[in-house]
């Protein structure tokens, strides 16, 4: 277990190697990245078996008072600053923390990243910048792995920022396309607004606790050393960071655009390395959120619910395959947040994993379709099962799983969430959650039927199945998307079930609530049946809603006008403020630069003097005003 730090470090080593040696290596060094992450995946199993064999008596391990589960913490001093004798010193560590939550994330990230990188060999074949692609990929995976291994907030924040940079580079990978560079910038800026909250939250915790250590912060929150106001504020600030990264309302606008990156990148971002970081953060900092009766969790639940409902409705009407998947991701992230907000810690992580496998699969499937048809609009597709059967089948498995068809992984995890919500939140939440569940089944069914079933569209005859480098990873993911739910069960004597491994304070049994199970099954099957009537057998016109309530359709199709409102706000508010400040500065400072007067000088020498002294007067005036202001301030503080 003490070697867990190798998992991210291997990827970090691979990245510069690819950049430097790549051009001389076969495949531009892409195999280095794959080797690094594959080794990481192998080490993950070693760490897992080490952890399962560990007990609170093992060295470095203890039962955490904050989460109730076994935690192993390995610290390595990074640097120490400030006097050791003072409590205000800073010791920063490269600490790796291993607990069930970390292990779950490690498994997900290494596996999905490995699958995506293998798949990319086929998808990105022949790209002139393949080496750069794999280098950033390795950085991306390494950063996310560091993020989940970090035992202190500083390291977490550093990894958090690195994830942001890598996603910026990958989303904008095809920077020849204007849309791609805009999307990259948008993702970077929007998530960084959340990061401001995160960093302020971390600083607040530091100034209260005097350490970046997570366990010390959790301790202070749970034992009452930190007051209720501070704890709740810190939780909300951390949530702000999580909302930015996890594309929660109102920061969700960046994720749908982020699909401008290569499709395997979308798979990685949506399933494993970026958006789940926010959910992970809330889960990791759960002791802070849950302290003092969990007031902050109510906010988490509301944010999750609003996000889930809003984006599910947009997914219903999108016609771009990748956008449907993107809104679906936002909606499912909302469900995970809702689950956390309803104290459903186990359910949220379970859904995070089940959704991760299914969503990676769906994106890779979509990539396979686009690879062969070069289309993204689902209206131009249809009947593709006839030409690309493997893609069609694995995509359908993913869609059925996320749609919540019984016995597949998504069914079990969604049920756990609904269970938690029905137990701990008021009926409005559970009713809305059911609506979301129905919608998510419907849009998945719609995508699946329209793209793969029915008549083969004209002009798609040339489409062909993708090479095995692409289909093999999809098939492996499909197995997990279908069968991962089995891990939920409790096999007495052999395996304690997912809830027996990942839990908050109390191990959870596998629970199955009959009415929730039946109702969600009925809803999921009903949604698939309804979608088949609409899109497969065309008994019902899908446009019926558009005819009955045109205004609603317009609002939803325009994504509730979030982009427009933000654009307006940026143009009218931010740029106005910046312009005003600049104008003020310019009215006094000659912002045209020295150029203007200098040109004049060449023609009329003496103008220089007038011009310059004119400005200098105003500079001096500003200084005098500033002096007076400062003196008044000083006077106010001194008497």
């Amino acid at each position: 277990m003490e070697w867990a730090w190798l998992i991210p470090v291997l990827s970090f080593i691979a990245a510069p190697l690819i950049v430097i040696l790549g051009p001389k290596l076969p495949g531009k060094g892409s195999f280095l990245a794959i080797l690094a992450i594959a080794a990481g995946f192998v080490i993950f199993w070693a760490v897992l078996s080490g952890f399962l064999g560990a007990s609170p008596d093992s060295s470095h391990c203890e039962t955490s008072a904050d989460t109730g589960s076994l935690v192993c913490d390995y610290q390595q001093e990074w640097f120490h600053a400030g006097l050791a004798s003072l409590d205000q010193s800073v010791t920063l560590t490269w600490g790796t923390l291993i607990d069930p939550l970390t292990l779950a994330m490690l498994g997900l990230v290494t596996f999905v990243a490995l699958m995506v990188q293998v798949y990319s060999l086929g998808y990105m074949k022949g790209d002139p910048r393949l080496g750069w692609y794999y280098a950033v990929h390795a950085m991306f995976a390494g950063s996310m792995l560091t993020l989940v291994l970090a035992d202190n907030f500083l390291l977490l924040y550093m990894a958090w920022e690195l994830v942001g940079i890598c996603s910026y580079l990958l989303i904008g990978f095809w920077h020849e396309r204007p849309a791609a560079k805009e999307a990259a910038k948008k993702a970077f800026i929007v998530t960084r607004i959340g990061d401001v909250g995160l960093l302020v939250g971390i600083l607040l915790l530091w100034s209260e606790v005097g350490s970046f250590s997570m366990s010390e912060a959790f301790n202070a929150a749970t034992t009452g050393a930190m007051s209720e106001g501070v704890t709740t504020t810190a939780a909300l600030l951390l949530l702000l960071g999580a909302m930015g990264k996890s594309a929660q309302f109102p920061f969700h606008v960046w994720l749908p655009d982020a699909m401008e990156g290569p499709t395997p990148v979308s798979a990685l971002i949506h399933a494993a390395t970026m958006v789940v970081a926010g959910v992970y953060l809330v889960a990791r900092a759960f002791p802070i959120f849950q302290a003092y009766d969990g007031d902050a969790l109510l906010v988490v639940a509301v944010v999750g619910l609003v996000t889930a409902l809003m984006s599910a409705s947009i997914a219903l009407v999108s016609v771009d395959l990748k956008r449907i998947l993107a809104y679906s991701t936002i909606s499912h992230l909302g469900l995970m947040m809702l689950s956390l907000g309803a104290f459903g810690y186990t359910a949220a992580i379970f859904h995070l994993l089940a959704h991760g496998f299914a969503k990676a699969l769906l994106f890779l499937g979509a990539g396979s379709v686009m690879h062969s048809t070069e289309a993204q609009d689902i209206r131009q597709m249809g009947g593709l099962i006839k030409v690309m059967p493997i893609t069609a089948i694995v995509f359908s498995v993913g869609a059925l799983s996320l749609g919540g068809i019984p016995l597949l992984a998504g069914f079990w995890s969604k049920d756990e969430i609904l269970n938690a919500v029905s137990q701990n939140r008021n009926p409005v939440f559970i009713a809305t959650a059911f609506v979301v569940a129905f919608m998510s089944a419907f849009y998945m069914a719609r995508a699946m039927f329209v793209v793969f079933f029915g008549q083969l569209r004209q002009g798609l005859d040339h489409a062909h199945e993708s090479p095995w480098l692409m289909t093999a990873p999809m098939m492996m993911l499909a197995v997990l998307a279908a069968g991962f739910g089995l891990i939920n069960f409790n096999w007495p004597g052999a395996f304690p079930g997912f809830g027996g491994l990942i839990y908050f304070h109390e191990a959870e049994d596998f629970h199955f609530n009959l009415w929730i199970g039946v109702l969600s099954t009925v809803l999921a099957l009903g949604a698939f049946w309804l979608a088949s009537l609409c899109y497969l057998r065309e008994r019902i016109s899908p446009d019926i809603l558009r005819q009955k309530a045109p205004w609603l359709a317009v609002v939803v199709e325009n994504k509730y006008y979030f982009d427009e409102v933000y654009q307006w706000a940026v143009d009218r508010l931010v740029l106005t403020v910046s312009g005003f400040v600049a104008l003020f500065d310019r009215a006094v400072v000659n912002d045209v630069g020295v150029n203007g007067p200098a040109d004049t000088v060449r023609r009329v020498g003496f103008v220089l003097r007038l011009h310059v002294t004119g400005h200098l007067y105003s500079y001096a005036l500003a200084m005098v005003l500033g002096t007076v202001g400062l003196a008044v301030l000083w006077w106010l503080r001194s008497v």
């Binding site: 990074w78 640097f79 600053a81 400030g82 006097l83 003072l86 205000q88 800073v90 550093m158 990894a159 920022e161 690195l162 940079i165 904008g172 920077h175 560079k181 910038k185 970077f188 800026i189 960084r192 990061d195 401001v196 960093l199 302020v200 600083l203 607040l204 530091w206 100034s207 403020v577 910046s578 312009g579 400040v581 600049a582 500065d585 400072v589 912002d591 630069g593 020295v594 150029n595 200098a598 060449r602 220089l608 310059v612 200098l616 105003s618 500079y619 001096a620 500003a622 200084m623 500033g626 002096t627 202001g629 400062l630 003196a631 301030l633 000083w634 006077w635 503080r637 001194s638 008497v639």
Partner: protein
């Protein structure tokens, strides 16, 4: 007073530096025109020698000279070595530029050395008038250097503006010093803190004097609203001088402010706790205005000017958070100064190398630089990422440390504001990176033909920065990454320096 000249040998590095500067000026007179390139090498070698001399003589010493006017301690030594090292790198960065575009190289380097002398004394002085004289030595050298491109009206104008506004601010500073002296009768920092600590209430002359003093120093570091001169002077001055202004003079002024506040204000705990908010307000205004106005800039040098104003805001926030019992804020400021300086050196060296190749300095001229000069583009991008505070670069470590110190000092709101201002800064740094990496290489550059405004481009394919520039770039890039990943050894030195000025901590 016999003790006045006791230990005067400890000033040997300063004597050596003054001798070196005068020597360079003298040698330059006798060198024939073709042999003048030897002066920068001599200057750099001399500086390296003085670094060795300082380390040998002064390591671990803790003494005062001239009856308490100058301090020989870890703080002075830290900044002395820092300034001398910076001087060497600045000389190497300037060589090609000076060689091609400026006359009288010997005098240029002589002035540079004299200004470093001024900076060294600033970091050592523990008395207002000594500090003032050192500051003037630095400033006068800079006035001349800003106007060094005699043929260029822009440079002349920059020098003229700089000297007029500089004289104005010096007058304010001196006025402040005289008012302080008239009300407490002392000028040594330590005596001022004693006077402040025992004063029942502060007389109007004293607070007015202190305010004037801060204004004068605010001008030197270009804090808002005393920043007006900076963009004009940065734009007009020859590029290496701009770099020197942004890096060296700022660091020296902060060394002075740090010692003044730590030794003169902070020990008077009651008053300082009331006055912290003044510096905090100054910091807040400076970081906001600097970063907001930077958004609107199109000239690279003006962008760097406003960006550096923004960074001054962060540094002032660290000054506001100084506390008698903790070295955290003082560590933070010094670490920030070092990280900021090496990062800026990287950016400016790359800009100078670009200018040497093309003679251009607008942001639009960087279009497609990633394809034209990949290494220069990477240097600027890394520098900007670091200035924006992104991890694995120095900028992350220094910002994190400083903001932690500010938050711990009781200014969480200011730390939050600083993080927000950093967010804004990312936006304009990205604008430049976008130009380099996303915009295509303009036709007229690729073809070496004429642009609309009549400027003719030479084909750049065969152009490459000189080995010297590449060396400076590589060293500073390494330093930027090293300081971001493993600042521990640096922090040990800074720690010792902090303890020298904050003995109570």
């Amino acid at each position: 007073m016999p003790e006045l000249t006791q230990n005067i040998g400890l000033l040997s590095p300063e004597f050596a530096l003054a001798g070196l500067a005068l020597g360079i000026l003298a040698i330059d007179l006798f060198l024939p025109d073709g042999k003048k390139q030897v002066t920068p090498w001599l200057s750099a070698a001399g500086l390296a020698g003085i670094i060795a001399l300082s380390l040998y003589m002064l390591w671990g010493r803790q003494e005062t000279l001239y009856g308490g006017l100058l301090a020989v301690d870890a703080f002075s030594l830290f900044f002395k070595v820092f300034f001398l090292g910076l001087g060497i790198l600045i000389i190497f960065t300037s060589m090609e530029y000076v060689d091609r575009r400026l006359d009288n190289p010997g005098e240029f380097y002589g002035l540079l050395l004299l200004s470093i002398l001024g900076m060294n004394v600033m970091a050592q002085s523990r008395e207002l008038l000594t500090a003032y004289i050192a500051l003037e030595l630095l400033s006068f050298c800079l006035y001349v250097m800003a106007a060094y491109a005699k043929g260029e009206p822009k440079s002349n104008e920059a020098g003229l503006k700089y000297i007029l506004i500089g004289a104005f601010s010096s007058a304010i500073l001196l006025y402040g010093v005289s008012m302080i002296y008239s009300s407490v009768g002392v000028t040594r920092f330590a005596d001022i803190s004693l006077a402040l600590g025992s004063a029942g209430d502060v007389s109007p002359a004293l607070w007015a004097g202190l305010a004037l003093l801060v204004v004068g120093l605010g001008f030197k570091v270009s804090a808002v609203p005393f920043h007006m001169w900076a963009p004009d002077v940065y734009e007009g001055a020859p590029l290496p001088v701009t770099a020197y202004l942004a890096i060296g003079s700022k660091a020296a002024a902060f060394a002075l402010i740090l010692r003044l506040v730590a030794e003169g204000f902070v020990p008077a705990e009651d008053l300082w706790s009331q006055w912290q908010i003044i510096f905090a307000v100054l910091a807040a205004v400076t970081m906001l205005v600097g970063n907001l106005v930077a958004l609107a800039q199109t000239n690279l040098k003006r962008l760097m000017a406003y960006s550096s104003i923004g960074h001054v805001g962060f540094l002032l926030a660290g000054i506001a958070a100084l506390a008698p019992s903790s070295v955290l804020a003082s560590n933070g400021v010094m670490l920030y100064l070092v990280g900021y300086s090496i990062t800026n050196l990287l950016v400016f060296a790359a800009i100078i190398a670009f200018f040497n190749l093309t003679g251009r300095e607008e942001i639009v001229d960087l279009a497609g630089l990633a394809d034209r000069q990949p290494f220069l583009a990477a240097c600027i991008a890394i520098g900007f990422f670091s200035l924006g505070g992104l991890p694995i670069f120095a900028g992350f470590a220094i910002k994190f440390y400083l903001f932690v110190a500010v938050a711990t000092g009781g200014f969480l709101w200011l730390a939050g504001l600083a993080i927000f201002a950093s967010l804004i800064s990312i936006y304009y740094y990205l604008k430049v990176i976008r130009q380099m990496y996303i915009e295509p290489v303009p036709e007229y550059v690729a073809a070496g033909s004429e642009r609309e405004d009549g400027i003719v481009y030479e084909p750049e394919q065969n152009l490459s920065p000189s080995f010297l520039m590449l060396g400076v770039l590589a060293i500073s890039m390494l330093a930027v990454v090293l300081a971001g990943v493993y600042p521990a050894p640096l922090l040990d030195l800074i720690e010792a320096a902090s303890q020298a000025i904050l003995p109570g901590a």
